[in-house]
Each structure stands twice: as structure tokens, then as C-alpha cells.
Amino acid sequence: MEEFLQNSGFLIVTMVQQSLLAMSLYYPLMAGQLSLASPGFYALGGYTAAIIGTHEFFTPLRESIGWLAFPLEWLVAGVLSAILALIVGIPALRLRGIYLALATIAFVEILRVLCLNLTITGGAIGIFDVPQLFESRWSYIWIFGPLLVMMLFFSYRLEKSRTGRAFQAIREDELAADSMGINPTRYKVLAFVIGAVLAGIVGAMSAPFLNTWNARQGTFDASIAYLAYVLIGGSRSIWGPLLGGAMLSALPEVLRPLKDSRLIINGLVLVFASIYMPKGIAGVISRLKRSLTWKSRKNGGEA
């Protein structure tokens, strides 16, 4: 068992981490907004943690509070992400559909070029030797895991709340929601900020997890990867991004024995998954569940 965790621990934690990032896309989507900004906030969070963790300016602070520096990093990353999300979100969320997605992609790219050029972000090399919270990669499950559980619980509560119903209403029909007295802009920005804060915190947790941080984290490729997680997982329930993120991020590793052709197969899986699972993995599961219960009821009736 220990050996298994030694070897696959990093991958398992990565699956949780990517699930969380997929979830960060899900909240705006709950309110009908296709935002691909998460990698930007993920990068911001990572830089926040890496800078607080390594910059000499923060040395006295780190020395005085010890391991509490880590939760502090998460907090600061969350707050900064929220502020940036408000600045970007308020103008950008007037856009819809693919236009919003494109605007958020632009945001991610602008941020990337900025990080590549600033001194504080370490330029192309980035920031390395980021202080560690745990010795082994597997132990990072103790921060990503609880965050995942918390987010699941949060999503569950959110869906049942007034806010969640407002999101739903906007997703179904923004104009109708508006006429029902729901302020679409407010809720759209709120959903965007929730996703941004989550991505920022995940980034702050990931900098120690990956040992280093640079401008290659949080790019257009990541935007598209997260979108694939949500769509292949299923965009109609929180389980979708969770499953999609976990499975798609594990796929290239699972295919590792195929060597040279592993990414070809990975691509084929994406194609077939989108064609044969239009409602995502979550959709397939709920259909299976339905057909099973239906069958058992039918069998029960006949008996």
C-alpha cells in the first residue's frame, strides 16, 4: 500500500487538484456563464504562495508565524483572486456564450505575458525552492482532500439556497430571471468570483505541491483542458467536473505503458467521449442508475 502511494500518490493528488480546478469552472457555468478564466486565477494564487513563501520581504513574517504561513497564503490568494475577479468580471460578464469564453482567454494570456516580464514573478524561470508543507507528495491530499469535501458540501448547500436557485434561473433564461426580480449581473459576478477564489486557493496550494511556479502554469492549454473536464464529466451537476477532472488528468498517466502512442489514444478518447457521452460521465452514470432502478421496479411489478 505504501509503495502504491509512493508511486501514485502524486497522481491521485493531481486528480483531486484538477477536479477542483474543473469545479472552479462549474460555478460560473451554474449561472450559465462559460468562463475559461480559472487558469489565470490559478496562476495568481500560485505566485502569491510562491512569493510569500520565498521572497525576502516576507522572511520576518514567515519566521514569526511558522506553518501558519500556508493558510495565510491561501487566504491572501483567495482575497486577491476575488478582487481581480471583480475587476475583470464586472465588464466581461456582460458578454455571453463563446464571447465571454474568449474574453476570459484573453485575460489569461495577458496575465501570462505580464508574469513572464515582472521581476517579482521570476521571469521565465519563475520561482523555485518553494517551502514545503509536507515531505511526500501524497500527504498533500490532506489539504486538497478537505478542500474538495468542503467544496462538495458548499455546492450542495449552494444548489439548495436562494442564490443557487437564482443561478439556475439565470442559466435557464436570463431575461426571465431579470423580470422575476433577480439581478443577473450581481449573481453572474458572484458565481464568477466563487470560481476565481477556488482557483486562486488551489493555485496557492499547488505551488508547494509542484515545488516551483512559473508562467507556464495557467495557460490557454489549461483553459481548454478544464473545459474538457467539465464537458466530458458533465456540466449539469458538481459530480461532472469532479469526475471529468479526475479521469482526464489521470488518462495520460494510465496510458503511459503505450509509450509513443499514448497521446494519440488520449486524443481519440476525447473524441469518442464527446460523441458517445453527450451528457458527460455524470450523465452516463445517472442514466445507468435510472435504467437500473426502472428495471428493478419493472421486475418487482411483474413479480
Binding site: 497522481l11 521565465a124 524561470i125 523555485f128 525552492d129 516551483t212 512559473n214 495520460p252 509509450k259 499514448r262
Partner: protein
């Protein structure tokens, strides 16, 4: 039933911990470089070097008669991929040491993990500052370019004493080129020359018209280009096509035969700062062997990353031999953890005569390389192939 299962599992766990693992036979050495993604252009050169080294050293008796085998795990181009590759090599493939990863950024991510697991790593192409300092198990055979660059500038001045104004161009999204360019800029200033313009680009760029016309507008006498093969080669080509006639210095990233097809006839005359030269020392037997094997197989001279990866494998092989000499035991009869520890010690002892010339790794794992080279590119009449003519 359940309890029995748990007991069995814990027994197994105890057993694996208690029963110390021996090194497999043939002795496994890991190669974790980028075989996919857009970094694969560099990774492929490394794979080729590793494969030639595997054949060469096994044909020459392996490790005192015991053969070794290389195990390849693709890192892809990102940090997580590098970690996954290293984890697989260390835990599943049970390698004694790892050659990799391709990029410095990946090294900052994956090397600490190998270091904590006490698995020796030799970087074949990680040149950023701070790599050997990651930990005691991390070393490299790729010299940080600070020592290489000044020579090229000196050579250019020797050939063209009238140089006054210099243009510096570099790929800003690449760690190596950014730091190399920094060194170039310092050198230029120290020599009392004027930096007339600094132009930045991306390794993914192809069109350099803006940068080139800025250089032309600045009326410089020397252009120094730090880039990788595709972008650097294109930049040189466009400089020449648009009428730049002065000397060009290429950074170490241009030290690859891969640029020949890119800039073709326009490659002619570029001064290249080299950490490896296929032709500098005709008496270097091991380099001759590498060059011959490479030519036989690929019909051209080996690029620097190929030579450096070959060297990394060579360092492992020779250090393994030293481990056997020191412990008076066969590697295959030793515990894996012990071999890794001893191997790491031996890597840092003594010198190696490699295709890079005479090198050693200091206690930190930093390479000390006796010779650096400056070469001038001479293109063949077909304008597709060429050679590096060693000038210093």
C-alpha cells in the same frame, strides 16, 4: 473475512518494507526527458544521445561485465509530467539514478522529489541558476552558460576590432536564453561596447521582422542572438535576408545542427558559443566514438544535447563502476537504496573524460568543464548541412 484481508495487506506492506530490494539486472538507469509536447524537439536529441550511450557502454562491458539498461519515461513538456515520470522511474522501474528532465523549470519541480527519495539525478540540459542547489542528489552536466558566453564576444572582437554598437536579442519565455542573454549583456558592457538595442521574442515566434528592422535601424556592428533552434534560426535568416551584414553571435541554444535547415545559407559565419563541439579535439577518443556512432546512424554530427545526455549516462556508468570498486561488491547484489546513496557519492568523485572534454562534478553537483568552445558555422554547398568549425 475483511479482517483477514487487512491482515494480509499489512503483512505484505511489512514484507515489502522489511525485505530490502536488490538492484535489478540489467542495472536500470532512468531517462526522464520530453518525448512528447512542443519540448520534444529538444527531448528527441536527448533520447538519441542516451540510446547511443546505452549501446556504446554495454558493448564495452557495461558495469564491470554487468549490462545496464535505460528506461525511458516521457515527461511531456510540463511540471506535473516531469514529476510523474520521475515517480515511475524511482518507484516502479527501480532505477539507480535518473538522467533528466529536459527543461530547467521541470527540474525545479521534479528534482526535489528525487532528492528527498535519495535518488541521484543528472540534468542533461538544465542550465538555470540554482539547479545543483536543489539538493545533494541533484547534479548536472550542462554548464550554466555564464562561462561560455564571454568567449564568443572576445572572438567576435578579435575578428572585427571595430565593433562599437551591439544589438542583443533573446527569447524571453525561455529560462536558459533569458539568463544567457543577461551574461552576454554584462560581457558586452564590461568590454566597453554599447548596447544599442535589446529585442525580446518568444520561442514560439516565427516572424521577427519587427525585431530585425529595429536592429537595422540601430545601425549595430554586432548582433547577439539567444534563442532555440527554430526561433533563433529564423531570426538569423531574417536578419540576413533583410540586409544585416555584420557579425552574428549565436547563443548556446543555436548549438545544434537543427538550425542548419532553418537558416540555410544564412547560417554561414555565425559564431556559436558552445558547451560541446563535435570537432574541437580530434584526440578525444570517446567523442570520436560518439560522433562516429551518430554519423553512422543519422548522417550528421551530434548536437550538444545529444552529447550532454550521452555524458550523463557515461557519468552514471563510470560512477557505478567506482561503486563496485569502493564496496568490493557487485551492484546487482546490493540493496537499491544503498546503491543510490553510494552512486551519488561516487558521481562527485574524480574526473570524467567525456565528449564534452574533461569534466568533474563538485560536491554540489555542479559541472566543472575544462573546455568551452567557440565555433563558426560553415555551410556546405547544398545549404542544408554544415559544420561547426572550431575557432577557440
Amino acid at each position: 473475512m475483511k479482517r483477514v484481508a487487512i491482515a494480509a495487506i499489512s503483512l505484505l506492506a511489512v514484507a515489502t518494507v522489511a525485505q530490502a530490494e536488490l538492484v535489478g539486472k540489467p542495472i536500470p538507469i532512468g531517462i526522464g526527458v520530453a518525448q512528447t509536447s512542443n519540448v520534444a524537439l529538444l527531448g528527441e536529441e536527448e533520447v538519441n544521445g542516451a540510446k547511443i550511450a546505452e549501446k556504446y557502454f554495454n558493448d564495452n562491458g557495461g558495469i564491470n561485465g554487468t549490462p545496464f539498461k535505460l528506461i525511458f519515461q516521457d515527461t511531456g513538456g510540463d511540471e506535473a509530467g516531469a514529476i510523474n515520470s520521475f515517480q515511475n522511474l524511482m518507484n516502479r522501474d527501480k532505477v539507480v539514478g535518473i538522467v533528466g528532465p529536459t527543461l530547467s523549470q521541470q527540474a525545479f519541480s521534479a528534482d526535489p522529489i528525487a532528492n528527498r527519495a535519495k535518488v541521484p539525478v543528472i540534468g542533461p540540459s538544465n542550465t538555470a541558476k540554482g539547479i545543483p542547489q536543489i539538493g545533494e542528489y541533484v547534479g548536472r552536466v550542462s554548464a550554466p552558460v555564464a562561462v561560455v558566453a564571454p568567449n564568443a564576444v572576445k572572438q567576435a572582437l578579435k575578428e572585427h576590432p571595430n565593433i562599437k554598437k551591439v544589438a542583443v536579442l533573446y527569447a524571453q519565455n525561455d529560462a536558459f536564453n533569458t539568463s544567457e542573454s543577461g551574461t552576454f549583456q554584462e560581457t558586452v558592457k564590461k568590454m566597453g561596447l554599447q548596447i544599442a538595442t535589446i529585442q525580446k521574442f518568444q520561442t514560439t515566434d516565427t516572424d521577427f521582422t519587427t525585431q530585425v528592422t529595429a536592429v537595422l535601424g540601430a545601425n549595430v556592428d554586432l548582433a547577439i542572438v539567444s534563442g532555440l533552434s527554430a526561433d533563433g534560426g529564423n531570426l538569423v535568416k531574417q536578419l540576413r535576408q533583410l540586409g544585416y551584414k555584420g557579425p552574428i553571435i549565436g547563443g548556446n541554444g543555436l548549438n545544434t545542427v537543427n538550425i542548419f535547415p532553418v537558416c540555410g545559407q544564412y547560417c554561414d559565419g555565425i559564431l556559436i558559443a558552445q558547451a560541446y563541439s563535435p570537432s574541437a579535439d580530434p584526440k578525444n577518443a570517446i567523442n570520436n566514438a560518439l560522433v562516429k556512432a551518430y554519423r553512422d546512424k543519422y548522417k550528421k554530427d551530434p548536437p550538444q544535447f545529444t552529447a550532454q545526455t550521452f555524458t550523463a549516462v557515461q557519468v552514471f556508468v563510470e560512477a557505478l563502476k567506482k561503486v563496485e570498486a569502493a564496496t568490493k561488491k557487485k551492484i546487482t547484489q546490493m540493496e537499491l537504496a544503498k546503491v543510490r546513496e553510494e552512486l551519488n557519492k561516487q558521481i562527485r568523485v574524480g574526473t570524467y573524460i567525456t565528449p564534452l572534454g574533461k569534466i568533474s562534478l563538485d560536491h554540489e553537483g555542479e559541472i566543472h568543464q575544462e573546455n568551452f568552445y567557440v565555433a563558426k558555422i560553415k555551410m556546405n554547398p547544398d545549404n542544408k548541412t554544415g559544420k561547426y568549425i572550431y575557432v577557440k
